[in-house]
Structure formats: structure tokens, C-alpha cells
Symmetry: C2
Subunit: 327 residues, 2 copies
DNA sequence: GCACGGCCCGTGAACGTTCACGGGAACGTT
DNA sequence: AACGTTCCCGTGAACGTTCACGGGCCGTGC
């Protein structure tokens, strides 16, 4: 690792001072066209690249955001990340992406280093707020898809009660009376989406007794629906925790000889682009994932400056039913 | 924006010197347990976070890589990005991701700023090497999926001739004689994959005359196959530029009443995970996308240190046929 | 002839942290 | 009593850049 080329090396090579080199390379003006060219040539000749650290130290302008997600290959997080990247690019900000590989330990590890690398952090975290706080040591943070309990944090809420209600309304209107659900198997307690579904069912006076759980994968959805239908053969429709599981359910239905949506209606959650490539296209309670990412970045920006924070009601993304083909 | 809390503020609050604060916060040792705790408390009290710029200036250890891709929502790039993130995490490196939104102007814009933010850059670029060079001003760079012409750059090659040959062999063995192709419509000249296909076809003495082009989307694939089959109804198999287009082709076949693979075999390229969620699962000439990302990061690391670069033959990812259900 | 303004360039200082070094106090050893 | 060790802590310097300021030179106007 040879010695670094500094601005002084360029200055010496061009026969001028530091400041003149700085002026030439930053289009500052107050410099003769001839010497400017001479400096530029010298810089290129020596392979000079300014140190981002030295530059960042004196001008406090560049902002870098950390984006922490459990798994970039999960299409939901991909879409959120894309939204965040777009919003950041519009502001000229930089985004360092951390994939925690669905591991709590990896999450801890990244949190440890993220605090010293970015100006604010945004993302999906699984740790509780107390531990987050100790790891982040005061770093501004925006939690996505999860309520914050302490004023220490800010968060982007996902509100799906109305959307799920819409979905059940839709199924009910189509004549469905036996509707099951495939919940997420990853946590101990039932999900909030499960609660939304229960509310919508009881609102219609329907029995809410056919519920299975699926792990987070297409295969998980396939297995889960197969099991659920074995237990409850009379089901004519099923609502799933998310689109990935729904796509697995689609496959299970086909393998069981049930055509969708005639023999079995399927409604997912998230509204991923992925739902449009399968056949039949997936009906889903859709989230504006791009907006989730955008909001998170926006709020992070507010935290970074003295600008007023986004009001609570804007920090919410509402899911709406998108009817495609599967229901 | 209130004044920044510096290490001196903490030192003053704790009644010690800079250095002692530094020792306490970095677990350096040579410090009394009591004062260490006192410093930590004072730091937390004041909300002190060390400046990454000042720190980076003096210890030259943290490395940051820029990853430039045209579109994170394109599953191929998502997988490459995931591979790169994983490799970077294993090394303790940070990755700033830039999505150029499939726009050459955006690519120019990011190249302009990327040089001053990262230690090396890796990714898919559409600009020619000359322009890349002027924008990057000496920044180490690894080009993915594209040959480098000048020693200025390094690159990761994608070699698919053998894999495509495998695919055609497979189709031939299954009795297919009329095999078409859907090439990429985005560029003026035919793609290299088109050439690989042509070679494989002539090797079997088959006519290579049924070729259409598709834009980069599922819908594009659907339209393109519909058109191709209208022109060449006798086709019994089709090879596509990539999996996205293939999935569109799958849908077109179904709409035309052709069951896959019996009435029409479909073979894609890339081997995306996405190909396993559609039905029938997509047979594809598969790339190890994770390895593409990993290699790029590895080579970037070599460029950054004095370690010897990866030999040419290792900088290549070979596609192999993965037979699933569609052919 | 002199003052003044514009153009071009250089010098000290500052940004906030870590490194290298030195030094005092307490303790034990001879 | 003198000396060496260990433990703990502080001070100058350095990292590489930009900012604020000052100053020389040349041309212009009165």
C-alpha cells in the first residue's frame, strides 16, 4: 500500500499552492485558466483523488443513511429498498445497505458498526427498543413497519385493517362464507394481520376458525395450505399473511386440483410486483412499498435537520385491496 | 443545527483529557475502570457520537465499496447485489448502493459523486470505458458482465456458450427441431447470447431463423412470444434472452392454449429464484448470481490492496443448464 | 502621480479524531 | 534509601482538506 497522493503532492507537481489546487479541482473560480489546466493535468498524472474523510471533516454537507433490512432477496424488502434508494438519490444522499441475513446476531453486529458510519439509520429491526438504543448510541433512527414505544425513535406504521376488511368484503360479496387464513409461523404470538382478519370476519358474522401458519417462503405457503385444506376441506377462500405465502398457496391449490379462483379464492398481502407475474395474477391487500421507503428517508432527513418531523398521520401507509385474478 | 458535540466536550464534562475519552470509548485499556464508566456516562449524557470523518482520517481502516446497478427491482440485479452485500459483510466492508434507474444520465450523475464517496466501485455500467475513466478519475473499478478493453479496468465475465449449448442439446434430445429465440430488444445489435444460441443451433444442423426481440419485462416476453408464434407456428421450443422474458413467454403460451412443456418448451437464461415460483417452474441456463457479486467484491478488494489480482480464468462465471419443468 | 478595484494566488487556521510519547504516582524490590 | 515497574493519564503532532483572510500585480480613472 504505497503512500497516499495528497493535495500537496499535486501542488508541488504543478508548482502552485494547496489552495490553488483546491480551486482548480472544485471549479471555484479565482484562478487562471492556464494554471487550472496545469493543475488538472498534474492531478490526473499523479492519480490524485481527494480524501473523502478530510473533505467531509471540513464541509459538513454529505449525508449518508444506513438502510438495514433482514433479507434483500425477500421481494418486499427489495421494493422498500428501491423506494428508499430513489428518495435518497433525489436528495443527493448516499445509502449504505446492510442485509442482516435474518439473523439477530448479524443485526447486532451491524448495529455496532452502523453508528460510526452513517448520519441516520432506517430499516426493519427485530431487537427491542432498549437494546437498539444501547447499540445505536444516539443515532437518529426510523423504524419501519413497527410501532415505536419510546420517543427515542420514529417509525413508519403499516395500517391494514381497512384493507383486510375490504378483502373480506370482496370475498363475502362473491359468496364466500368459509374463509381460512395462513398466518406467519415465524413468531410466537399471532400477527397483527391475523387480528385484522379476525375483526373483519366477525364483522361479517363469519366463523374464524380455519387458521394455519406458514414459514416465510413459497414452499412454506404450499405446505401450509395443503395442511389447512386437509383439515378444513370446505374452505372456498384463503387469506394469507403475505404474497410469498400466497404464491405458495396458489401452487398448492393447483396441485390439489383446485382451480383458482373458481374452486378456491386466494388473497395475499403486500401487493408485490411478484404477484403480477404468477398465473393467475394475485389479488392482494397492497401496500405502496415505494412510499414506505420514501417516507422512511424523508423522516430520517427531518431528524437530521431542525425541520419539523412529519406529523403522525402522515407516517402511515394504508393498505388497499388490489383485485387481480386470484379472487 | 446546533453545534456538534466533540470529544473535547465529553472530556471537559468528565474532567479528563481527549485521549482518556478516546481510550474509554474504544476499549483501549490503560484506563481506570471508574473513570472509564464516568466518561461513558458523560458521553451518553451529551449524546456524543464520534465523527466518522475525523476517525477515518487518522485510521485508514474502513473501506467502502460503491455498487452501481441499473435497477434494483430487476431480480437479476437484486441477486447480484445480495451476493455483493454478503461478501462485503464477511469482510466488514460497507456498500453504498446506487440505482441508476436505467438512465444513462443518472449513471453519469452517480459516477460524478461516487468517486468522492467510496474506495472502489463495482457494477453494471452502460457508458464506454473512455467516459467511465474520465468520470471515475482513477477510482478502482470492476465491470460486471462485460469485457474490459483497457487495462484500466477489471471485469467479471459471464460465459454462457457451453450452457446454451447444453440447453439446445437438451431440447434436441427431447425431439425438438424447430426452436426459436427471443432476444433482447434494448440494444441495436444482437446480444452475445443470441450468438451463443446460433452456434448451438448450427452445431446441431438446425435452422436458426425464428428470432424475435422482447423488451425487458414480463409483458414484453408475452408480446414477443405471441408475435413469434404467429410468424412461426411450427415452433415447439423457444429460448429466451433471460428469465423475465421467459416468464412472459410462459404466460403467452398458456393464453394461446399451448401447455408447457408438452406443446411448447421454454428455456430461460439467468436461473433466477423467480423461476421457481412460476408454474411450471422455469428451465433455465443458470448463472450463479451470488458468485457474480462475490467475485466483484473480491476483485475490488484485490485492487485496493497490493494483493495479486484474481487470475483471468477465475474472473468468469459459467452458466449451466438447470432443468426444471418448462423444458 | 496616486488611489482604487479586479484578478490571481498563497498562508495560517480549523475540522475532530487517534498515535506516539512522556510523565507522575503508587507500589514493590534490593 | 534508591531504583525499577506498573498503572493511569495528558500533551503535541499528524491525518488531508477547505475557509477566511491577506497581499501582490496590473489596469483604469481622476
Amino acid at each position: 500500500m504505497s503512500k497516499r497522493v495528497t493535495i500537496n503532492d499535486v501542488a508541488q507537481a504543478a508548482g502552485v499552492s494547496r489552495q490553488t489546487v483546491s480551486r482548480a479541482l472544485n471549479d471555484k473560480g479565482e484562478i487562471d485558466a492556464g494554471t487550472k489546466q496545469r493543475v488538472i493535468d498534474a492531478a490526473r498524472e499523479l492519480g490524485y483523488r481527494p480524501s473523502r474523510f478530510a473533505r467531509g471533516l471540513v464541509r459538513q454537507d454529505t449525508t449518508t443513511i444506513g438502510l438495514v433490512i433482514p433479507d434483500l432477496l425477500n421481494p418486499f424488502f427489495t421494493e422498500v429498498a428501491a423506494g428508499a434508494l430513489e428518495a435518497a438519490r433525489a436528495r443527493g444522499w448516499h445509502v449504505i445497505v446492510y442485509d442482516t441475513a435474518d439473523s439477530v446476531d448479524t443485526e447486532r453486529g451491524t448495529l455496532e458498526v452502523v453508528a460510526s458510519q452513517v448520519d441516520a439509520v432506517v430499516g426493519y429491526f427485530s431487537l427491542d427498543e432498549a437494546e437498539l438504543d444501547t447499540h445505536l448510541s444516539g443515532l437518529p433512527a426510523v423504524l419501519i413497519g413497527r410501532e415505536h414505544r419510546t420517543p427515542r425513535f420514529s417509525s413508519i406504521r403499516i395500517e391494514g385493517a381497512a384493507g383486510v376488511r375490504e378483502a373480506v368484503d370482496h370475498l363475502f360479496a362473491k359468496g364466500h362464507r368459509r374463509i381460512g387464513m395462513l398466518d406467519y409461523a415465524g413468531r410466537a404470538e399471532p400477527s397483527i394481520r391475523r387480528a385484522w382478519f379476525a375483526d373483519a370476519m366477525t364483522a361479517h358474522g363469519l366463523a374464524d376458525d380455519a387458521v394455519g401458519t406458514a414459514v416465510q417462503s413459497v414452499d412454506g405457503g404450499t405446505e401450509a395450505l395443503t395442511g389447512l385444506l386437509a383439515q378444513h376441506p370446505s374452505l372456498t377462500a384463503v387469506f394469507t399473511f403475505n404474497d410469498i405465502i400466497a404464491i405458495g398457496a396458489l401452487r398448492a391449490a393447483r396441485r390439489l386440483g383446485r382451480t383458482v379462483p373458481d374452486d378456491l379464492a386466494v388473497v395475499g398481502f403486500d401487493g408485490l410486483q411478484l404477484g403480477t407475474v404468477v398465473d393467475p395474477a394475485l389479488t392482494s391487500v397492497a401496500l405502496d412499498t415505494r412510499r414506505v421507503g420514501t417516507l422512511a428517508i424523508e423522516q430520517a432527513g427531518r431528524l437530521l435537520t431542525d425541520a419539523p418531523l412529519l406529523p403522525d398521520e402522515e407516517l402511515q401507509v394504508n393498505a388497499v385491496l388490489v383485485v387481480r385474478e386470484s379472487a
